[in-house]
């Protein structure tokens, strides 16, 4: 395994070649915001919150989908990055209907927490207020498109970990929607095993257990580490 040396926030670090810049940054104990990234799933580069500045290049790089390279010089926490990260959060808030006060995930939501952490106090853009449906046809779970940020964690966990690939992305651009089966009511999909992994990895209140009321939905995704460490490394985290 070859090793490369790079500079992260003025500190020289080494990392195995072909690994992501994000993993090196996190290994340094640097707290970098992420939303679509989830340890155990493939990277998507969708939310762009993990962007970094790269010396010698004017554009920003999403660190989750940028491999480390020899001599790379990156900055993870600058005024410019904060400005862009705030804009991204605001755009996410403006795109769908995120009404925290009445959301099942109020108080446990990654979008809500990140907005507060990054100092997003208000949204400068016009809210799009799209007329979006909820699909409560599944016997145990509900998808509420109003809260979806299209991070695709649910789609990836369904495909990569559960192996069912019931969920996928339909439409394009602002019309994109998480769909079940052949864009049919979730409850009628025959491939869904009802495992609920999609629900547990969802960062917002877009996926939740039926019967959850405001602020009642708490999620945990450490099961991903248990499953993947067992499957790939034969390490079993019995508790």
């Amino acid at each position: 395994m070859s090793v490369v040396t790079l500079t992260i926030d003025d500190k020289l670090v080494s990392a195995p070649a072909n690994t992501s810049l994000l993993s090196s940054i996190q290994e340094q104990g640097i707290d970098i915001p992420t939303l679509c990234h989830l340890k155990g799933l493939s990277e998507r580069g969708g939310c762009r919150l993990c962007v970094v500045e790269m010396e010698g290049n004017p554009r920003l790089f999403a660190s989750c989908v940028t491999p480390v390279a020899e001599g790379m010089v990156v900055r993870t926490n600058t005024a410019k990055l904060l400005k862009y990260r705030q804009m991204m959060i605001e755009l996410l808030m403006a795109q769908r209907n995120h009404v925290c006060a009445v959301c099942v995930q109020n108080g446990h939501c990654e979008l809500q927490t990140l907005a507060a952490k990054l100092g997003v106090t208000s949204v400068r853009y016009d809210y799009m207020c799209p007329d979006l449906p909820m699909d409560a046809s599944h016997e145990r779970y509900v998808i509420d498109h109003n809260r979806c940020i299209l991070c695709a964690r649910c789609i990836r966990v369904c495909d990569e970990v559960e192996g069912a690939h019931t969920l996928d992305m339909g439409g394009r651009g602002v019309q994109s929607r998480v769909i079940a089966g052949m864009n049919q009511p979730w409850g009628t999909s025959r491939s869904c095993t009802g495992c609920g992994k999609c629900v547990q990895v969802c960062p917002t209140g877009a996926l939740f257990k039926k019967g959850s009321s405001a602020a009642e939905m708490v999620k945990q995704h450490d099961f991903l580490t248990w499953i993947l460490d067992g499957r790939e490394k034969k390490i079993w985290h019995w508790r």
Partner: protein
Amino acid sequence: MATSTNSKARLATVWLGGCAGCHMSLLDLDERIVDLLALVDLVYSPVADIKKFPEGVDVTLVEGACCNSDNIHMAREIRLKSKQVVSFGDCAITGNVPGMRNRLKVENILSEVYADGPGPAPPAQGGLPVLLAKVLPLHQVIPVDVYLPGCPPSPERIWLAVTAMLKGEPVELPAEMRTLG
């Protein structure tokens, strides 16, 4: 109320399109209300019987979103007469629950609630403020100086923000006190 020395700051609180929960949370300052009233004159508020928004207000807390023409008029008057305007709670900041009607057409809401619903429909013209096509957050109507999030903001958030403003300091709430919802 509002009759003591000139050295006190002039505080106003306003209730636009919201549920009054933010004002309930203000009252939940409990005994600190006494401390607050030692620092300010409350010159306008739903909890004080004052009919007209006064001139020369130092800090105005605005609860609620702008839902109708009356809210817009009031917001503009507040801005003209206040040194600092606070978006007080989620409805003022995002539109929040009142804004949930924004995906619907106003005509459909009015006909479903009033014309098709029980009881007499309100007069089509005359007297009542006109509903806006979309509920607006306060900062889309007037410039806002401070955002105080929460549904409602906890008394602790209110106390921190208001006391900082009265001291002329910037409002810097810790991250866990900046969450919406």
